[in-house]
């Protein structure tokens, strides 16, 4: 009888442990993606502001910083999100750098808007919501 109770408790604990680890990993991933994308978005807002006022040198310095931050985050993001999303961000970042170098305001602004959308989409995709579940 005692042995049976012990075995039941053991199985229940294993199930609980497995479920809680899966949920914890999910939450940690969610928090990590939120924090890193928030930091990237802050840089994007600064670049957008500088492009609007045509501060091209400042914009270029900021985009270099953003690229190095992106390179660091990219490694971890590759393990968490679909690689197509990462490729889209990398591609847009390269295009934006070239448009800033060429001081092309219209294209820079349109590409920064697209880049912002792509990055905002990452934590949104993983957010716990009915829209995402269904």
């Amino acid at each position: 009888m005692k042995k049976r109770i012990k075995s039941n408790i053991k199985t229940s604990l294993i199930i609980l442990l497995l479920f809680s680890s899966i949920v914890s990993v999910g939450l940690i991933i969610n928090i990590f993606l939120n924090n890193t994308s928030y930091s990237l978005l802050n840089s994007i807002y600064v670049i957008q502001f500088n492009i609007e006022y045509e501060n091209w040198d400042m914009s270029y310095n900021e985009i270099v910083k953003l690229k190095s931050e992106w390179e660091k985050n990219k490694r971890v993001w590759s393990a968490l999100i679909h690689h197509d999303e990462i490729d889209k961000i990398s591609e847009n970042l390269e295009l934006l750098t070239e448009y800033i170098k060429a001081k092309d305001k219209t294209n820079s602004l349109s590409h920064i808007a697209v880049l912002r959308k792509y990055i905002e989409h990452i934590p949104e995709m993983d957010r716990l919501s009915l829209e995402n579940i269904f």
Partner: protein
């Protein structure tokens, strides 16, 4: 190269998951277990082939399915009501030699299938069958009528010998000391028996085991094999 490494990782992961889920064979799976087995195979192959999908997108669903399977099998073991929902109940298709039309219709089991199953199990006539039960795993169990069931030792008044568990002592020239101790004999007894069969060394024995009747069975290694081994 990446696909190769991902395949190894996922193979180990799925094998461990299946191992943790229990020993039941595919044919004996309950409906909820079959669903998990089908989903697992699909989930593992997607990130295996497509390197753009992170491994974690395959590992988390596999882990979740494995946990759900353990949870449901644990709950169905403890709670009868849930067992009925997840595993279903066995259905009697033939009762006292009469096919139940209603059950056949309810199970969408046609007469041809039923007769085929009966033939495959060695019963040619429905009238020979007392009960045919469709088990929750989808297999058909047959209980023949008393006069049609095979004679047992009891019917023939034969005294059966007690059956012992067969234990292998030497396999392919290698002595299993643990199994020898289980049989209650020692190495001297074994060597004596080998010598009586004209075998001097353990490595010359292909198989030596205590059979279900308690006798020692010895088979010598083939002469050619013996030479190669030496």
């Amino acid at each position: 190269m990446i696909v190769f490494i991902r395949t190894i990782i996922l193979y180990i992961f799925v094998t461990l998951a299946m191992r943790l889920m229990g020993k039941r064979q595919i044919g004996e799976l309950q409906p909820f277990e079959l669903v998990v087995a089908l989903m697992l195979s699909e989930l593992a192959t997607l990130p295996m082939q497509d390197t753009a999908i992170p491994l974690i997108h395959g590992i988390i669903p596999i882990l979740t399915l494995m946990t759900l399977e353990i949870l449901i099998s644990f709950l169905t073991l403890k709670i009868e009501f849930l067992r009925k929902i997840f595993c279903g109940t066995p259905d009697i298709l033939i009762k006292h030699g009469k096919v139940s039309e209603e059950e056949l219709r309810r199970q969408r089991f046609n007469l041809d299938d039923l007769i085929e199953e009966l033939r495959m199990m060695g019963y040619l006539d429905i009238s020979d069958i007392e009960y045919a039960i469709l088990e929750t795993s989808g297999k058909l169990s047959i209980i023949p009528k008393a006069e049609k069931s095979p004679a047992t030792r009891e019917d023939l008044n034969l005294k059966p010998q007690a059956v012992k568990l067969p234990v292998s002592i030497i396999l392919d020239g290698v002595l299993n000391k643990k199994n020898l101790a289980i049989t209650g004999h020692d190495i001297n007894w074994l060597m004596e028996n080998l010598k009586s069969k004209g075998i001097d060394e353990i490595k010359d024995v292909f198989i030596a085991m205590i059979d279900s009747k308690g006798n020692l069975f010895i088979q010598r290694r083939d002469k050619d094999e013996e030479k190669n081994k030496k």
